[in-house]
């Protein structure tokens, strides 16, 4: 559990710091630093156990069926990274307090920084690779937010998007790789994966998996040719760069290499890909860094170069190389973070980062200059500093590999050249900024920064020195622990020391330092040579391909999605046709084994009427009233069909719904044109006829295939239990209100929502009310015929009685809440037609919205009621009572549920029709209570 607190505290810090907007800057900083400080204390308390070789774990089961857990794990490697992330994070937060101007939102930066910290902690501590990937993507997203912190600047936005696309794309490759890995091993658990080296490397998918995972790592740690996002990410505020490009974001990539080193490394594929990528990046980054005039640009390419160095070390096939890689991860984090912070100070105090303007800063800020010079010397690999130690180890390891066969000697030579370049750009950083004459056109008069702005740099530079002079004392434990987890148990004897005697690596260092200084002093020639080369711009290539892709996608989308709903519908039907019709061709025989029933006269006549009605609707579809009449014939025949095929409930429902639908459509027609214009071309009509005809044939065939095969249904259960379990003999109704009562509850909710939606759609409708029909004949002034009015009025009580009867008998005989509700609604609608909504409103002051709500509430509370008896939601209860004179009757809680259904159906239907109907009358809505 203590393990979980480390990322959790940092997440908490993100939330807390986002709320410190009203506090002073010092309070905000203090509060933000508090959480990682506590996390750091927890980590320190856990460290002894990890140093002793223990692996701490914490797991919460999340989706056990998919093998996904929330799992954390702290081993040596993770501990090292947690330390780096927290320590440098705290220093960066402190530094940012002085860096940000009053116009910049501090809580925003802190919240993003802490979110990023959470993501990084999550990556290094995950014990489940899917979870690891989740945090990996979170770093991409939070770094996007951090880089685009100054979102007003175009370069910040572009840099952020570029970083997101490159690292996010790599993240997708990583996901694919991790999924493959999980498939090979059969588990997403990191412990299991790390222990399955043999299985993984013998598997056919090993190469694919490896390349996908490496793509993730290389994009994240800006390896060539994916390096170009990193310099553009320099548009971020300098504290962000100091954090992202020293200890965290780019280190996530090399962390991945280290994490999967026990499982994936050891094959020729690994060594070739990783070492060559690393070597190329090392040389390329170091070379380009020399020519950057922007201080942060120089640091960016130097970061790329150093990451290449670490990658190369992981790609050398000796155990000590991996140790050296880990050591350099620590050293690079310390000196690069301090250099970024120093650059931030220079930028802050002079207003520029251009080395052509910055000269002679030593006179203005000697203290900062000293700190920066020590850090830069460490970057160059000068003795007594930590950078020297890992560089020595690196040189030594390049001598011990057999990577390129007989040409293996090339690697130490190239490594020395890269070392010389590193010395040259470090020398430029020192000499060009702090000496080299006088400053030129500085926007500000430079001076020393606020006292506390230097504190983080002092701490980091002190670390550089301490590690450089007393390496065994400071880093031995953590280095051993991390190497233990990277090498999977066996750690070769190694001794980090300042002095190994006169040997080849020392000679290489000597050559690098002197060569680098020579390069720097003679840089004029090199610059001239570089200027004569054609400029190779990775950003341009990236921009071009991105633009091309966007254009291509736009073109494709527009060609499919042209805004015509008519066309989308057509495409959807074609898709249905293909997917529904396709399998039919694989069936050997359409008809099934079932005995066919003979056709009798009634059925034939009914079917003929139905088909004639349907076809006539289509033929006369332009004359809308006629087509409406025709479709009502179809509806009537459907309800007759339900009667014929032993479904009285359905027939009743269909009949009443039919009445309501036709009235509704008639009302609608009042507001719509009476005729459809002739629009479709003959080709279009032919095409639509083809699609609809084909679809009809397909559905008819499926239907035929279905009903000619014997039935294997779960209905036996309902038939057997309806009376005993549900207390009713009408099985359909018992299913509705009891077995599948929860579904019915959902359905009446849909009904209510539809009615409310209609109500809202009709509010403030700017409607044109026609005074005449389409042929210019004025509507009759006498709207409500007296004959209908008097008959309908006397019919109302009768109709209500019938609906009450239908409702009550519903549980045992055809009927029930739905049908009774519709019958009641029809009775009321008749009153509306006969008298008009104003007349009704004067007599019936009911708010239909409240009716719908109460109906749903009754149904819901009936369901909830069963909780009070300790039963699951919607358990029905029923019993039989003997009442004098009436006889035995049954009371069931399902009846109350059915009341809810009834009320909802009445409310919804009346609300729909009355809302529309009252629009025909020009009366204000308040008076008619819909």
């Amino acid at each position: 559990m203590t393990l979980l607190w480390i990322p959790l505290l940092s997440l908490l810090g993100s939330i807390i710091s986002s709320m410190t907007g009203k506090l002073t800057r010092n309070q905000s900083t203090g509060l933000t630093m508090l959480m990682p400080l506590i996390a750091l204390l927890i980590t320190i308390s856990l460290a002894p156990a990890v140093f002793a070789g223990e692996v701490l774990r914490y797991t919460i089961s999340w989706i056990p069926l998919l093998g996904i857990d929330i799992a954390f794990r702290l081993d040596g490697l993770a501990l090292l990274f947690v330390f780096m992330i927290l320590v440098i994070g705290i220093l960066v937060i402190f530094y940012a307090r002085y860096y940000l101007s009053n116009n910049d939102s501090m809580p925003k930066l802190y919240a993003y920084l802490m979110l990023f910290m959470t993501a990084m902690l999550g990556i290094v501590m995950s014990n489940n690779v899917i979870q690891l990937w989740f945090f990996w993507e979170l770093t991409s997203i939070s770094s996007f937010l951090l880089i685009s912190y100054w979102w007003q600047k175009s370069e910040a936005r572009k840099g952020a998007i570029m970083a997101l696309i490159i690292t996010g794309g790599g993240g997708l490759a990583l996901l694919a790789g991790l999924l493959l890995l999980g498939n090979i091993v059969g588990s997403y658990n990191l412990d299991v994966i790390l222990a399955s080296r043999g299985i993984i490397q013998a598997h056919d998918w090993y190469e694919v998996t490896l390349i996908l995972i490496l793509l993730g790592a290389f994009t994240k740690s800006a390896q060539f040719p994916f390096h170009f996002w990193l310099p553009h990410a320099m548009a971020a505020p300098t504290p962000v760069s100091a954090y992202l490009h020293s200890a965290t974001m780019v280190k996530a990539g090399v962390f991945l290499l280290a994490r999967f080193y026990p499982a994936l490394a050891g094959t020729d594929t690994w060594f070739i890909i990783v070492s060559l990528t690393g070597l190329t990046t090392l040389l390329f980054g170091a070379y380009v860094a020399l020519f950057k005039h922007d201080l942060k640009g120089l640091l960016a390419y130097s970061t790329i170069s150093h990451l290449g160095l670490i990658t190369l070390l992981f790609g050398l096939d000796t155990k000590l190389a991996a140790v050296a890689a880990i050591f350099h991860i620590i050293n690079h984090a310390t000196f690069k973070a301090s250099l970024f912070m120093a650059t931030g100070i220079i930028d802050h105090e002079t207003g520029t980062r251009d080395m052509r303007k910055l000269n002679g800063m030593w006179r203005f800020m000697p203290y900062t200059a000293t700190l920066a010079m020590v850090a830069a010397a460490s970057m160059a690999g000068v003795p007594l500093l930590n950078g020297f130690l890992s560089k020595e180890m690196f040189f030594a390891e390049t001598l011990h590999q057999q990577l390129l066969g007989s040409m293996s000697w090339l690697i130490p030579v190239l490594a020395t050249i890269a070392g010389a370049l590193a010395v040259a750009y470090s020398a430029r950083f020192i000499h060009d900024v702090f000496f080299n004459g006088d400053p030129i056109d500085l926007p500000k008069q430079p001076s020393e920064p606020p006292r506390y702005m230097r504190v983080p740099i002092e701490i980091l530079v002190a670390l550089c020195l301490l590690v450089g002079i007393f390496p065994n004392f400071i880093v031995n434990d953590i280095l051993k622990a991390a190497a233990f987890s990277v090498l999977g148990g066996y750690v070769p004897e190694f001794k980090v020391a300042l002095w190994h005697g006169f040997n080849l690596p020392l000679l290489m260092s000597g050559i690098a330092v002197s060569g680098g200084l020579l390069l720097y002093t003679q840089r004029r020639y090199l610059f001239r040579f570089q200027a004569s080369l054609p400029t190779l711009n990775a950003k341009k290539a990236y921009d071009n391909s991105l633009n091309k892709m966007i254009k291509w996608c736009q073109h494709k989308i527009i060609s499919i999605e042209n805004g015509s709903l008519q066309r989308y519908l057509m495409l959807m039907f074609v898709v249905v046709l293909i997917f529904a019709g396709g399998p039919l061709f694989e069936m050997s025989q359409l008809g099934g084994e079932k005995q066919l029933t003979p056709i009798d006269v009634h059925n034939a006549v009914g079917a003929a009427l139905l088909m004639i009605g349907a076809i006539s609707t289509v033929i006369w579809y332009r004359t809308r009233v006629v087509s409406l009449l025709m479709i009502s014939v179809v509806g009537l025949m459907v309800s007759v069909a339900f009667t014929r095929f032993s479904a009285p409930d359905l027939a009743l429902t269909q009949l009443t719904v039919e009445v309501v639908t036709i009235i509704l459509l008639m009302l609608a027609l009042f507001f719509l044109p009476q005729h459809s214009p002739k629009e479709s071309s003959s080709m279009r009509v032919l095409r639509d006829l083809g699609i609809s005809g084909a679809l009809g044939i397909v559905i008819a065939s499926i239907c035929y295939a279905l009903i000619t095969r014997p039935l294997d249904s779960i209905s036996e259960f309902f038939l057997a239990n309806a009376k005993t379990g549900g207390g009713g003999t009408n099985v359909v109704n018992v299913i509705l209100v009891d077995f599948r009562g929860f579904d019915t509850l959902g359905e009446i909710c849909v009904l209510g929502i539809a009615a409310l939606g209609i109500y809202k759609l009709l509010v403030n409708l700017p409607l044109f009310i026609p005074t005449s029909d389409s042929e210019g004949r004025p509507w009759a002034k006498e709207r409500y015929p007296i004959l209908l009015a008097s008959i309908s009025q006397s019919l109302l009580p009768l109709a209500l009685l019938v609906s009450f009867y239908i409702f009550l008998r519903g549980h045992n005989m055809p009927g029930g809440g739905f049908i009774a509700g519709l019958v009641t609604a029809v009775a009321f609608i008749l009153q509306y037609i006969a008298h008009g909504s104003k007349w009704i409103a004067e007599r019936l002051t009911i708010n239909y919205r409240k009716i719908i709500a109460s109906g749903i509430a009754i149904a819901l509370f009936t369901g909830v009621g069963s909780w009070f008896f300790g039963r699951p939601f919607m358990t029905t209860w029923f019993d039989y009572f003997d009442i004098p004179f009436i006889g035995e009757i049954e009371l069931a809680s399902a009846l109350v549920f059915d009341v809810g259904v009834y009320i909802t159906v009445v409310g919804s239907t009346l609300m729909i029709l009355a809302s529309l109907g009252q629009l025909t009358t020009n009366e204000p809505k308040e008076k008619v209570n819909v």
Binding site: F573, P598, A607, S676, Y704, L719, V731, V750, I758
Partner: protein, 119 residues
């Protein structure tokens, strides 16, 4: 009779789809209504066709399949709610947009040369 039933469903589907593909809202609503008849009949038939069978317990030994019936019953009611919604939407659409074309605007026709049709 199964063949006749299936043919009816097929005819309803065809007519419904054809109307749904029209360009004005009212025929589309009619098409949807027709299509929902077809869907209901189709779902209903998944319990197989049974003439003269009991729907209520205790009256016979042969029963029609109650499950599709219960499903179709609610489908009819919800189908009505949906039809109503589409109808009102089309009225609202006409009031707001000034026409009843499903795309929200009447396409501008290119002038065509009138071909003389000889009869």
């Amino acid at each position: 009779m199964e063949l006749l039933y299936a043919s009816c469903v097929g005819v309803l589907v065809s007519c419904g789809v054809f109307l749904i593909l029209r360009s004005r809202t009212f025929p589309v609503v009619l098409g949807l209504t027709m299509f929902s008849y077809a869907v209901n009949l189709f779902l209903f038939s998944s319990g197989r066709l049974s003439l003269n069978q009991a729907a209520v317990l205790g009256t016979s030994t042969e029963y029609a399949d109650p499950l599709p019936q219960a499903l179709v019953l609610t489908a009819i009611v919800i189908g009505f709610a949906m039809t109503a919604f589409v109808v009102i939407l089309s009225i609202r659409g006409r009031a707001d947009l000034g026409n009843d074309h499903v795309d929200g605007q009447v396409p501008i026709k290119k002038k065509k040369k009138n071909k003389k049709v000889e009869v």
